[in-house]
């Protein structure tokens, strides 16, 4: 209560009830109050979240005791030799104590664990041997204790380290400031910790970074130019004509290649082709087929014919330097030609370095349709948009139909050009609204000068104004201004023009510590953040960008700490289009979706679906926050948030046009929740086979707040004997104590998800594609099986070390859905990582307990949960 009172202006601290009462500022408060239950609001200000700062537990004296059962087992089996009396090998476990209090002790117990894991101890000749079950218990217990101890020893007591802007944040900061997108590919990649690119203590900075940030900032400054007029207009592009002559010439060309030196590869199947060195892997026969096929379609010679991925002219919107920022709409007149695959043909828009969009084409050539797709251009730079035809794979390529000679059946082989899209014309209209920020005029506020010499005063003013905008509400120091002017002089002396030399000066601001770092000056103890620091924290959290003028203004007037203002601002920020940075990036990093890139898709799999799949988790999360639905939908849900392509894949009817939306599932659907999302399932496999261990470990990390320990070193991999199912392979873990201690839960969950194939399709049987054969040396060599047998999948298993059984995937999902507290707690920890730039600390425990309890009281309302997090004392303490 003490802290709460100090945070609230005197006029407010007496009455909280009116917060839901008075007229709302337009647009923002409405949504917030709708979705934040009144009970929450009263709780919010009842003060327990603002618990006294003095109650913090001291992280320093946090020794982690061994679990009693572990002590008991060690006493029984190890002390015979490793006790006080002449300990064997000089290892005296008695002297160690039963609690881990410093790195050296952690290291010694790590050695004990390693010895157990590798089976060196207890030695075979020892009289007393623990049972397998006891070994599992001891290894599991020591592993857990060590994970906990490592975390405690690394604890920083909730203090975050001042961190530099990462690549994403830098990009947005520069874009807000200059109106151009910097080339962040030139910056060194950011270090990731548990998947997050925001952890201050681990975002390294080196001379290399400094040089690259300087170079990239200077290059971006060089591209700032006077803004184009930005008048709304329509630009029509007739598609390039693929003439009969040109097509015939191509046919001849491919035929020639096949007849000559390239012939040796002409007869190979795609599967064989993929094994060839890249330079030689040109499937000329495919090109020939397409070219021949093209000429037979209606519309040939009148517009473009585009095909899935393999070929087709790819019409491009040539965004040039004269395109101004803003919203645009693209219209394309299209029709299907040939017989589209079961899943449909999709018009795809691929943007360089940006998102891809897919709209299903439904029209036939007799009655073409015009498809409209809105998009946004963010700077004057060329932002190429390429149009393609994409398709949803009919079946997973693991079940590719093959002929007797092993080649794919012709129909399958020709799939890509059975059908395509005929494209008549396309046009772009925009910008729909004028966005007239003229960044050039903003910098050279008093025009240019023809001479570079003698302009020091003007340049000083330019730098000062620029630095004020760049430093996010901070005041630039005299050293920075003078340094910049000095750089200007050096450049002017060397003969650079006025604007060039001025840019040299400004580039210094963009590598100054106050720009590149988020610095929150503080004392020896934790303290509340200032209003300006809060504005910055919120903006980088929700937008991955600097605060806008409204936030900075409120902060500078010291009004942001006002709970009424703060909730309104958080609501506004959550609903802003800029919040997509949070929904997309946080979800991507929290759920480790980068693993999706590691899945090797089969040669003939159209990866268009994976583009949509990669966006689905973020779209679901954003939907929950925007509408205030329960976070439990992340595990078990009656609806999915999908676009037309995913809907087609999941077997949901009636989803048309561009964009993601919530769709109620048919009653018998296995989908709903993260577990059954294509992205999550696909990254729990390698493209060919499922990886139950990866899936199970992922669920423990993300949904159960129970991350398994990293794999121990020096434990050899297991090899099954003969042809084995996933279940049989996993069962070998159970026999080995070093494996069983961690694998029992992981494997059970992973096997419970086996009904989903490696690329996310539901299946009832599994093809056994690997056979292990014992070599004379006693090792196992695995071979691919030619004609793999199919066996029924048994998803049953146990959670809680055998205590909680389940028999089907649905039962498993229900069990996981019952553990909402763990889900919410894990999510809150991820938010601390992502949004506060540090690892969760032991001092956060009371906050987390409290947050989970409140979340439960609101049925885990996603929006209320986020607001609660952002309003909390923890978020507002540095």
């Amino acid at each position: 209560m003490r802290v709460l009172a100090s945070l609230l202006p005197p006029s407010i601290s007496g009455s909280f009830a009116w917060i839901v009462g008075p007229p709302h500022p337009p647009g923002s408060m409405n949504r917030f109050s709708q979705h934040l239950p009144a009970a929450w609001i009263s709780l919010l200000f009842a003060g327990s979240l603002f618990a006294s700062l003095g109650e913090e537990r001291d992280a320093e004296d946090a020794g982690v005791p061994l679990e009693p059962r572990a002590v008991e087992l060690i006493e029984t089996y190890c002390m015979i030799c490793h006790g006080d009396d002449d300990p064997s090998g000089g290892v005296n476990l008695d002297g160690l104590g039963h609690s881990i209090e410093n790195p050296a002790e952690a290291q010694l117990w790590q050695d004990v664990l390693d010895t157990l894991n590798t089976g060196l101890m207890p030695p075979e000749q020892s009289r007393r041997q623990p049972s397998t079950e006891e070994k599992i218990e001891l290894i599991g217990s020591l592993t857990r204790t060590l994970v906990l101890a490592r975390a405690r020893l690394a604890d920083t007591g909730g203090r975050a380290v001042a961190r530099r802007l990462n690549r994403r944040e830098y990009k947005n900061a520069i874009r807000d400031l200059l109106g151009v997108t910097p080339n962040i590919e030139r910056l060194p990649p950011d270090d990731r910790v548990n998947g997050f690119d925001t952890i201050g203590s681990d975002l390294t900075f080196s001379s290399h970074h400094l040089e690259r940030y300087f170079e990239v900032g200077r290059e971006a400054l060089g591209r700032v130019s006077a803004a184009p007029a930005g008048e709304r207009r329509v630009r029509r592009f007739d598609t390039p004509l693929l003439t009969r002559e040109a097509n015939d010439a191509q046919i001849e060309h491919y035929q020639g290649l096949i007849d000559s030196g390239q012939k040796q590869f002409a007869g190979l199947s795609p599967a064989d082709l993929v094994r060839l060195p890249a330079a030689e892997r040109v499937p000329w026969e495919e090109h020939l087929h397409i070219a021949q096929r093209t000429a037979s379609f209606p519309g040939f010679g009148e517009g473009d014919l585009i095909f899935s991925d393999r070929r087709g002219l790819t019409p491009t919107i040539p965004a040039g330097p004269r395109w101004s920022r803003g919203e645009y709409v693209l219209r394309v007149r299209v029709a299907n030609v040939g017989k589209p695959p079961e899943g449909g043909n999709y018009l795809a828009l691929h943007r360089d370095g940006g998102e891809s969009r897919f709209v299903q084409v439904r029209a036939s050539y007799d009655a073409p349709e015009v498809i409209e797709i809105p998009f946004r251009l963010d700077d004057e730079q060329s932002d190429r948009i390429v149009m393609r035809c994409r398709q949803v794979a009919k079946k997973d390529p693991t079940k590719l139909e093959r002929q007797a000679d092993g080649h794919p059946v012709p129909d399958q082989e020709l799939r890509f050009w059975q059908s395509g899209i005929w494209l008549d014309w396309y046009e772009v209209e925009g910008p729909l609204r004028a966005e007239s920020t003229d960044f050039y005029a903003e910098i050279f506020f008093d025009g240019l000068r023809s001479e570079a010499g003698g302009q020091d005063d003007y340049v000083e003013q330019i730098v000062t104004r620029f630095a004020r905008r760049a430093l996010r509400g901070g005041e630039p120091g005299e050293e920075l201004i003078q340094g910049a002017v000095e750089l200007y002089r050096v450049a002017a002396d060397a003969g650079l023009s006025f604007p060039q030399a001025t840019r040299e000066a400004l580039s210094l601001v963009l590598v100054s510590p106050s720009f590149l770092y988020m610095i929150e000056p503080g004392g020896e103890t934790r303290a509340p953040v200032s209003d300006l620091e809060l504005a910055n924290r919120l903006a980088f959290f929700l937008w991955s960008a600097p605060p806008d003028a409204a936030l900075v203004g409120l902060a500078q007037a010291n009004r942001l700490r006002d709970p009424y203002v703060l909730t309104a601002q958080i609501g506004r920020m959550l609903d802003s289009p800029r919040a997509s940075a949070f929904y997309e990036t946080f979800t991507h990093q929290w759920l480790e979706l980068e693993r999706l890139e590691g899945v090797i898709l089969p040669f003939d799999y159209d990866d268009a679906l994976m583009h949509s799949a990669a966006r689905e988790p973020a779209e679901l999360f954003a939907h929950l926050v925007r509408t205030g639905e329960s976070l439990t939908n992340l595990v078990e849900s009656e609806f999915v948030v999908v676009d037309s392509m995913l809907a087609s894949f999941y077997g949901i009817e009636g989803v048309q046009g561009d964009g993601f939306r919530a769709v109620t599932l048919p009653g018998d659907s296995e989908r709903g929740g993260l577990l059954s999302q294509l992205a999550v399932l696909a990254m729990g496999g390698d493209g060919k086979r499922t990886l139950p261990v990866h899936r199970g470990a992922w669920v423990m990390r993300k949904l159960l707040d129970d991350p398994p320990a990293p794999p121990p070193p020096n434990v050899p991999a297991l090899h099954p004997d003969g042809v084995a199912s996933a279940r049989e392979m996993m069962e070998r873990h159970r026999a080995d104590p070093a494996c069983a201690s961690c694998h029992q839960t992981m494997d059970a969950i992973g096997l419970g998800m086996e009904n989903f194939g490696p690329l996310g399709r539901w299946r009832d049987t599994e093809a056994l594609t690997l056979r292990a054969v014992k070599t004379p040396k006693g090792r196992y060599q695995m071979y691919e099986v030619e004609d793999p047998p199919e066996v029924a999948i048994d998803p049953s298993g146990h959670l809680d070390r055998g205590a909680t059984p389940f028999t089907t995937y649905r039962e498993l999902r229900s069990l996981l859905a019952d553990r909402n507290d763990a889900l919410v707690r894990g999510l809150a920890k991820a938010l601390i990582h992502y949004g506060m730039g540090r690892r969760p600390s032991i001092v956060d425990d009371p906050f987390l307990d409290d947050l989970v309890e409140r979340s439960r009281a609101s049925d885990h309302d996603a929006r209320a949960f986020l607001i609660e997090f952002l309003m909390s004392e923890t978020f507002r303490t540095k």
């Binding site: 000089g90 790195p103 952690a106 290291q107 790590q110 490592r150 020893l153 690394a154 920083t156 001042a162 530099r164 060194p188 990649p189 270090d191 990731r192 201050g200 203590s201 681990d202 900075f205 080196s206 290399h208 970074h209 400094l210 040089e211 993929v274 060195p277 120091g477 050293e479 920075l480 340094g483 910049a484 000095e486 750089l487 050096v490 060397a494 100054s512 510590p513 590149l516 770092y517 610095i519 000056p521 503080g522 980068e594 890139e597 590691g598 090797i600 390698d686 493209g687 990293p710 794999p711 121990p712 070193p713 020096n714 050899p716 991999a717 090899h719 690997l770 060599q781 071979y783 691919e784």
Partner: protein, 435 residues
Amino acid sequence: MMSRAEPTPIPRRTFLRGATGVLALPLLESLVGARAIEAIRPRMVWVGFNFGVTRGWYPQDKKRKGFDPGPALKALESHLPDLSLVRDTYNPRGTNPHYGTTTFLTCADLYGTPGRAFHNTVSCDQIAAQHLGADTRYASLQLSSPSTCIQGSGGWGPGLSLAWNERGYPVPAITRPIDLFQRLFGDGKTTVAERRFELRRKKSMLDSLASELRRVEGTLTREDREKLQQYAESIRDIERQLAKDVDWVEHPFPEAKDAAPPVEIPSGSSAELNAFYDLMAIALEVGATRVITYRQACEGILKEIGYPSHSHGLNHGDGDPNLRFGTDRDRVRLLAFGRFLERLKSIREADGQTLLHHSVVSFGSEISTEHMMRDLPVLVAGQGGGTLRSGQQLRFQKSMRLSNLWLTLLRATGCPVDSFSNSTRELQDLLVRGQ
């Protein structure tokens, strides 16, 4: 020769004290005679790679000489007389079986510092650079394949290269052969006058940033100032290099005999390996530096040999049906390495010996196979100017600390250190007797 790892690590502080003492020394001229200055100074190269090797990499017999190299090492057969296969090494504190290079050259305990979830220490190449790099254009060069960054840290573990500086921060690397080419030969366009302007501009920028940093630090508490340490350090690093650049600005870059490498090369492909190796040989030959590290990926090689997945899978269960791919990958990697040794052997130094004779070229990973981190795959080629024995398989009855190997190499090349990381002693069998 038997060896026994001692359980007590040397405290880090002891080592730092030693290193600082050395740093404080004036330049070597006053201490060493004219003969020593004329003597050819040794070069040191370290190559480290991700995800270890495939089983079958090691010789099947324990013979010290004339061992059967097995399918992978056969790729180096003609070079066996010039290298030692150092067996049975390990890092006592290497516990993450997905970190192939993070502590390969540091031998640090990453988790040994309270309040830090991760803390590395100085790598041996950076110590070598302090002693061998004072009078070269670059004190050391760090090279790395571009990060493929899939599945966590790509089998390397954290880091930007194999090198870590005295504070335990990662040292950044050159990731494209073309960039290394320009470091060695200039970009061919910039004139001396332009370079002078560039240096002046840089100097002015650094001065400004340094004074701005002082201002910012003035507003912070001591604890917060530590937060900006890396930024301050980066300014100092550039200043150091700048001082060298100023010294060297009048010296023209050597003329390139070969064409510049292509700009885009697939990460971890044999094209990248060969391009970097060629330029490394040149860098050592023309004296641009005496210390180079190179952190390799292998994704490009996997594509070349037609392996349709990632190296992570290849090193785990998936390695079994695909054992031949793993062996092929190792062979390609070793063939490229052999080509590099060949090149070093073809270059003659003033005393008539080869460049390889005057070099110490180490090659290895902190992962052996799968999740195993013992008996690391480590090769040491070259004779270190006549101090190192080669042509042998070196085995130890008990696991040998890797830090002892690095200590041995540092001392053999004249670096005045008494210990390195948790080292306990030198490997006498690697040294020519009487050294």
